[in-house]
Amino acid sequence: MLLSAFEKVKLENAPFVSMGFFAAAFVMQLTAGNHESALYGSVFNGMFVSNSFTQAAGLVIIGCGFFTAMTCLTYFKQNNPCTMEFYSVLFFATGGMLMLTLSRELITSFISLEIMSLAIYILVGYDRKRVTSTEALLKYLLLGAFAGSFFVMGSALVYGGAGSTKFAEISSFISTHSAGTPLLIGGAFFIFVAFLFKVAAFPFHAWVIDVYDGAATPVTGFMATALKAATFTVFANFLALNGAMQKEWIDFLFYIALFTMFGGNLIAIGQSNIKRMLAASGIVHSGYLLIALVAISTESFSGSVIAYYLAAYSVGTLGIFAALSYLGGKGESRMSFDDFKGLAKVRPYSAAAIAVFLLSMAGIPPTAGFMGKFYIITSAISANQMALAVFGVISSILSMWYYLRLIIIMYFQEPEDTFEIENSIFAPACTFILVFCVFALGLYPIVI
């Protein structure tokens, strides 16, 4: 299903077509069966499993891809133009992510992860002429590979402990033995390190800010959303493979989530560049998602909370990056907070859209972000993690300031810039579709 869309990409050049493919994939994903099913069970040996959770995650990822492609159209009009490889690499990345969500085997996951990562490395470093872009690529690549080797080591240990790398077999091993086997603990830990790195959890978060800063804006948006969605999906699948496994790691994740939220906030406070701020706020959102991971109930794991939050978060983040893409101007000249002074007076609709996205990220009703937060807190408290819920709330209080700051700058200060931009309909259109999505998701919270 995915591969079919994905094979053809080599034949296609135009971004419109890629958007078309994204749309087609989206529809396919949407109409695909809602039941738990192993894809090509016999051929792939149960390494790909699809269920409603992965379907939802897939939708999110494909959606992200679609909007990114749309945004890029405008973005590249204002910046160094791209070649069609860009879109193909975007497809590779998306494909890797989709496989990642589906995979139920460690090495398959690893390879999918690497496909995704390599593709994103390329996207990050796509603008070769810019030093910052290359620098971001360097940082991401070095640390990503570093984290990847942990994943391999972890898989090796898990393999050593459980005798297999398939989730199903690991699960049955845990059922008969225990999740507390040293090899499993060590292995799972190293695998977590890799996942935590990808979602930029504390203390593996430091790269994310520089990389987001250096990458092209639509790419940053794509990284911030789709990558996180894919990683969290596989993370959740891995964690939920057995109840004992998750219980073993609750405390660990608890502290990671805690530090991630607060670390992210503290970094975000001091930022003066919007992309960096958003990167840091992405760390915070990873923290919230980690709360959801702590709170997943393995007996009836559906991942609905995570999927919803991912969707809500993605919509908001993509939206703001889309807006930044076209407002950033030539060569991303407008990226710091002060560059957006008085935007509301010059471009009221764009400013309103950004404000909506920011409020959604801050979790103010009736946006999607609020419902996401509401679900997260509900699941945390249902799982008897009151403390985590409270910390989550405190962290979102801390995060208010830097979201509001941009709104304040946009609305309450006098414009100094005329905000001239290339006339291109796509990124603005994308922005407003996303605004609609923010409210639609917020008011009709579809929970699978």
Binding site: G363, P365, P366, M400, L404
Partner: protein, 507 residues
């Protein structure tokens, strides 16, 4: 048709606000549209008020499933507790669209959205729904202060927004806790307040949740010592916003305590009642004293408002029917009196470009009608019998004395403290010799007189004939207290007055 009146009242201003915001219309038309919409809301509000039967339960109930998996419903309803708050909200908004010179259409849009959200918060009987409206109503305030406020608007708007959001986010956690607790106890999800009232909560988390709820509302009310956002916000905000803030938004805080905290956290509430009421009283005195030191009328009124809110909150914490009814009544009384005072100050500012008390004087000669109206509102605010302010304050003090003699006596000092700063201000602004600036002051014109007259008459009417209002709220208050007392009888020490009196004597 009339059964959907609440939804209409919520969404008409909300949608109108969005429409005004988006549509390319002139600011004059925006103002007119706003006035028409709020006027219709007012008519609906009056109709609703008259049609309210005065039973203890919910009326005009609407309910629709919203999020099925968590039992969140779109459910609305009005009972005696919310009736008067709702009425106030419907009543006062049209005023803002009449007085003052025209501002931008964004301003009117914000006002409309604000009204919709406030009505929503008042009518919601589902905690989640309430929370949503509760948060939404902050946004227009944020923009109004930030966009149209005075010189210190940025700091003020940040302070109020961050402060109140901090509180309400904590409340979100507590709210979810309550829902989850209901799920564990009854096996199904519900956030409906009627259902939640059946909960038996105990233990450390319950206390924590209670504290978080109270914190949110204490900040909104604002209760001492969480009032520090208030002087800044009230002073810097454009007067219409200050009016909305003081007349309605603060009241919703009190209302929410009655509606959501008391039924759910009976035991914790009873346990902390003394502390809370002390906070109310101390806040009343503290802010009242601070008011005397103000040079800016608006800031003085801000402190006065905080001081009165302390008393109103106290009434809620006293846990008897007199005090509770008094608080509910006082909500309207204070909204009309102090709210109107804020509007008057706004008029003065508009006409004389100053709010500094020392720059003013002798307005009573220049503008006798204005002075008379101002005096009546002021007297209502200090609780003179014959005005609406007295009934509420008297009932609250009465209840407070029963609750705890010491607190009762302290609460009585509001009679003195309030009058001190008010008279002092009145003397300087309205009496004495006219100054340069006040020479320019012109009396209210016909439109303004007709705008304010109904409110002024209402102040007096409510002072002389409060019973039509009390009759509608009392059964609900009675029921509230009754439910409360059956659940938490062990905690409430039966403090009958004689023993209190003796204690007092020893002191």
């Amino acid at each position: 048709m009339f059964q959907y009146v609440l939804s209409v009242m919520i969404f008409m201003p909300l949608l109108a606000g969005l429409f005004v915001l988006a549509a390319p219309i002139s600011k004059g038309i925006a103002r007119l549209a706003g006035f028409i919409v709020t006027g219709i809301i007012l008519l609906l509000g009056i109709e609703l008020f008259l049609g309210f039967s005065g039973s203890a339960g919910m009326e005009y109930v609407e309910s629709r499933v919203w999020i099925e998996s968590l039992g969140v419903n779109y459910s609305l309803g009005v009972d005696g507790i919310s009736l008067l708050v709702l009425f106030t909200c419907a009543l006062l908004f049209p005023l803002i669209f009449v007085v003052f010179s025209t501002r931008t259409k964004g301003f009117y849009a914000n006002l409309l959205i604000c009204q919709g959200a406030m009505i929503g918060a008042i009518c919601a009987t589902d905690l989640v729904l309430f929370y949503i409206f509760w948060e939404i109503m902050l946004l227009p305030i944020f923009f109004m202060i930030g966009l149209y406020g005075g010189p210190g608007r940025l700091a003020a708007t940040l302070k109020i927004t961050l402060y109140t959001i901090a509180g309400s986010l904590l409340m979100l956690a507590a709210l979810v806790y309550v829902g989850v607790a209901y799920h564990t106890q009854f096996g199904e999800w519900s956030f409906n307040i009627v259902q939640l009232a059946k909960l038996n909560l105990s233990g450390g988390y319950a206390v924590l949740a209670f504290v978080m709820f109270m914190l949110a509302f204490a900040i909104k009310i604002p209760l001492f010592p969480f009032h520090t956002w208030l002087p800044d916000a009230y002073t810097e905000a454009p007067t219409s916003t200050t009016f909305v803030l003081s007349a309605i938004m603060a009241k919703i805080g009190v209302y929410a305590v009655i509606r959501f905290v008391i039924p759910v956290f009976e035991i914790e509430f009873a346990r902390f009642a003394i502390l809370l009421s002390l906070a109310g009283v101390v806040g009343m005195m503290y802010c009242g004293l601070a008011a005397i030191a103000q040079k800016d009328i608006k800031r003085m009124l801000a402190f006065s408002s905080a001081s009165h809110m302390g008393v109103i909150a106290l009434g809620v914490f006293c846990m008897n029917v007199q005090a509770l009814t008094g608080s509910l009544f006082q909500i309207v009384a204070h909204a009309t009196s102090t709210g109107v005072l804020f509007l008057f100050v706004g008029l003065m500012e508009e006409k004389m470009q100053t709010r500094n008390i020392t720059d003013l004087g002798g307005i009573a000669y220049r503008a006798p009608i204005f002075a008379t109206f101002f005096a009546i509102a002021m007297l209502a605010s200090v609780g003179l019998p014959g005005t609406s302010g007295f009934i509420g304050e008297f009932l609250i003090i009465l209840g407070a004395v029963k609750f705890n003699a010491f607190i009762g006596i302290l609460s009585g000092t509001t009679l003195i403290i309030g009058v001190c700063y008010m008279l002092w201000m009145f003397q300087r602004v309205f009496f004495e010799k006219p100054k340069e600036l006040t020479e320019k002051f012109t009396d209210l014109n016909m439109t303004e007189v007709l705008t304010f007259l109904p409110v002024i008459l209402l102040i007096i009417f409510m002072g002389i004939f409060p019973q039509p209002f009390l009759k509608k709220i009392e059964p609900a208050a009675q029921k509230h207290i009754a439910e409360f007392s059956t659940v938490a009888p062990t905690v409430i020490v039966d403090t009958t007055v004689p023993s209190e009196g003796l204690n007092h004597q020893k002191n």
